[in-house]
Amino acid sequence: MRAVKIKKENLFDFLEAIKPFGDLWGPVKSGDGYVLEKVTDYSNIEMSALRTRIPFKKLLFPPKFTMFKFDEKGIRSSDEELPRQVIFGLHPCDLHALLIMDNFHSLHYVDPYYRERRERTAVIGLSCFPDDRCFCKATNTHYTEKGFDLFLTDLGDFYILWIGSSLGDDMVRECPELVDEEVTHDDLEKYIAWRKKRESNFKLKLDFTGMPSIMELSYDSPLWDELGEKCLSCGACTIVCPTCPCFNVIDEVDIGGGTGERTRRWDSCMFREYSMVAGGHNFREARSERLKLRFTHKLQAFVGAFGEAACVGCGRCIGACPVDIDIQTVAQNLKGEEVKA
Amino acid sequence: MREIVVEPLSRVEGEGGITVQLDGKRIKDVRFDILEGTRLIETLVVGKTPQEDVSIACRICAICTLSHRYAALRGLEKALGIEIPPKAHHMRSLMHLGECLESNSLHVFVLALPDFLGYPSAIAMAEKYGNEVTQALALKKFANHIMEVTSGRMIHGENPTIGGFGRYPDREVLLNIKKQARDFLEFAVYGTNLVAGLDIPSFFEKETVFMCCEPGNEFGLMGDSIRISTGEVVDCNDYKKLTNEKFCPHSAAKHCLYKGKPFTVGALARVNNLGERLKGQAGKLFKKHWNDRWLKNPIYNNHAQAVEIVWALEQIPGVVDDILKIKEDPALVKPARTEGEGVGAVEAPRGTLYHHYQIKDGLIADANFIIPTGQNLEDIEKYMRLAVQGMIDQGADDDAIRLQLEIICRAYDPCISCSTHMVRIERV
């Protein structure tokens, strides 16, 4: 990693200069929140946006896409060239989630659809200031040295521009005149002051220490049934979560029957059919079982498998569930703390 | 006694049939049966909020869904004291044009033209008239697209709602609509000339009365007063005077009379009453093809619809510009009051449609809908009777009579699901 500086007023020129690296996607305002959208007018980018409704995952495995087409003769892989893309504005929590996703999609088997898109993607991270839903400090995902090609830390009238990969370096070399190679001691002090200020600003204090043991002991807790009664099985919690990758595979046929395509779509462990097998037996018939799966996965099993939780503290699910079942309320409930919804 | 029955009447929207009873050469009865079941929609909306009403009332009919929605919105917004902002007004004009375009092109090219060219369906017609059918379907698709973009989906879109629109379409989408409208104009003109070239039988011709909304100084599809071919102009609040209803045991729709006489509404009424105001290509076509047989023969409704297609296509670019001129999307306008009464009149593709509401405590207290096909029923039966008489005199066989009656009936583009539920007896 290497650090340079870039003046704020140069940012748009910089984004213009790196156009050859692909379509620029950044957070833009939509209703009361933000969504990641393709931007051509850089002034639409919301630099202070915290979380987009759906995270970056939609650009690496879209909610629905064609795996391949088929006809009477057999299958045909898509020869369509995917566009190159630059995702701008990912915060440390999402960058951690991106690392989890990268790892997940190459573990045991490389997922070619993910890889295809990932290889065409450059990532520019952006520093942030927590609001009352952020708890990445609790999940220890509030900093990252990895997962980005470039990362911008906002220090007032300039950014520190961290170069995290050779691709990032290529981008900077497109426009050397826009960056300032010299980082001074003064800048370091500013950076440290900024960190202190940011860290003291986390309002949501969750403590996940020892969570796996608590989950283990709570396996038969009546809490799951109570939550199951309330849950609407809408899947919102999984849709917004940057570390939820589950999908379904559905064939679409044209009317004649001979031609069609195999499609992949987002699925959710909160849906009824998720664990159903032929003949109608459902391994997770009750909603409480599904909720248990989701939270065991995030807070216990993943830790067992990878040494870290699959929750990166982005706080998306905290705003998403209509009946307030989220990582915060569940963790607080299980630990016998006062639950704030 | 001989009975000629056509049931169900195909290629009309809804379930209907025709029955002719002959006693030798004498006609005993000619009936246009409305077989569609009853839905009692006017009673369903009572006790609902205005917004819920809009969602229910539009489901009276899938073809005229936007006209019903528009009439309901106008009636309800009058009752609630809502003035919609200009951008919403232009959007409503666009959606209304989309529906007129959709319905007219479906009727002229897909439902009626096969009759004149001697095919059972547009699909069967495609073999010889491939280009025409393809173009007609493309035009209809474009019209559907306008409806989808403005109302949220092709049928029963909820986007036009009390006080405006839930969401306004993107600029690129609108610009594309503008462009396509221009592109389709050539085919529309060709289509009008094609229809105008058809041989139209004249033996059942007879003068009648025409009614439509008075849109102001131009040709249009909406207004607060009604223009009658006799020269009168009547406020739409007095709609009951124009549409006296009577119950007929063979019909789930009630029949309407004006001063005791049958009358015609729809494209033919609009073009006959307001055609002089048409400009551009539509104006030229009107001048070229219109003659006083249009005042006597309902088959010319097809011609009038074709002219309207051209008119609608010519209107669209201007309306799109009007929408785009206003950058800010206005929020929905909230009701000024919770009580009131209002009549909304619009021109559905088939003719004048009235929605009359009374609102109390924010809920619908009473509703009355008068739909165009109900208003046309008496004239439909009148012309069928004339045609049967004429054909018996010529010694025509049952099949020929059957086809001729179907053609007349279909020319009115009757919308049966609409008509069934709407008309209500007023007993004094």
Binding site: M67, F68, V249 | -
Partner: protein, 284 residues
């Protein structure tokens, strides 16, 4: 297959030809298939207990256990029960027809660990399909295993899968083969009647330290069978069972087969030891 060496898209099925099919009972049919590409057909390597994803364009994919043994390369065999859309369409396939298959997936039986030990195979119903692979493998490599027992239960004589094959095996002297049916309406059934646990009496002395058990059958069977095995003091990790879950990918991505929060049945199963089962909640 290791991630680094993977070249091909693991989701694109390989065309296979249906060589032969016939009914095993009323709703389970036997399907013998071979990769259209002969070279691939011969090089396809797998372990007993692994499964493949069968793909029918227009309907989708579903996992099916391999019933043949890798010791007889070239042909793949499946036993498939007709239960829904996907299996309906598989049943419409004619001999010589082409369809898609990808795999093998899953862990399979830990053959290397079993080798040198005695092996008891307990199958019920459709469980015969995957365990037949293990059985045939062990018989083909007879010298590498100790005593081999087969306990097979079916509901009725008509429903018993691979009936003739197992009848013939009764004649072998290097295998203790015992068959039972829950109920015999024909009156012609020459062997045991009663549930499969009744056959435990047929087991001679079992040396618990050196015996592996492989179990597959309907969910209810496990409870009773495992209880019997535990009575013999067999270590829990030597009791192996193959489990079924919903699967959409077979390669540990789609999530449907997850158990216990992070175990993907398709990667770490479908063969689990009873120790795993106890350890991971929600397994059976």
């Amino acid at each position: 297959m290791k991630a680094e060496t993977q070249l091909q898209n693991p989701y694109e099925p390989e065309p296979m030809r249906l060589i032969r099919r016939y009914p095993l009972n009323e709703d389970v049919h036997f399907f013998q298939v071979r990769a259209v590409d002969m070279e691939k057909a011969l090089s396809l390597n797998y372990l007993p207990g692994q499964f493949m994803m069968i793909s029918i364009n227009g309907i989708g994919e579903a996992p099916f256990s391999i019933s043949s043994t890798p010791s007889r390369p070239g042909l793949l065999e499946f036993g498939i029960r007709k239960v829904g859309n996907m299996t309906n369409r598989i049943f419409q396939l004619k001999e010589n027809g082409i369809f898609g298959v990808r795999g093998p997936y899953g862990n399979g039986f830990p053959i290397e660990k079993i080798k040198g030990n005695d092996l008891v195979i307990i199958m019920g119903g459709l469980g015969a399909v995957p365990l037949r692979s293990l059985l045939l493998y062990a018989l083909d490599n007879r010298d590498q295993f100790g005593k081999i027992y087969l306990l097979h239960g079916a509901r009725t004589p008509d429903e018993m899968l691979f009936r003739n094959e197992f009848f013939n095996m009764m004649k072998r002297d290097d295998l203790f083969c015992h068959l039972t049916v829950d109920q015999d309406d024909t009156g012609q059934w020459p062997f045991e009647t009663g549930v499969v646990t009744r056959l435990f009496g047929k087991l001679a002395h079992i040396d618990p330290k050196n015996t592996y058990f492989a179990v597959c059958g309907p969910p209810v069977m496990y409870k009773f069978v495992v209880a019997e095995i535990l009575k013999l003091n067999v270590p829990k990790h030597q009791i192996l069972m193959t489990l079924e879950r919903r699967m959409k990918c077979g390669v540990g991505k789609c999530g449907h087969c997850i158990i216990g929060g992070y175990i993907y049945t398709c990667l770490e199963g479908p063969v689990f030891s009873y120790w795993d089962v106890l350890h991971m909640k929600g397994l059976i």
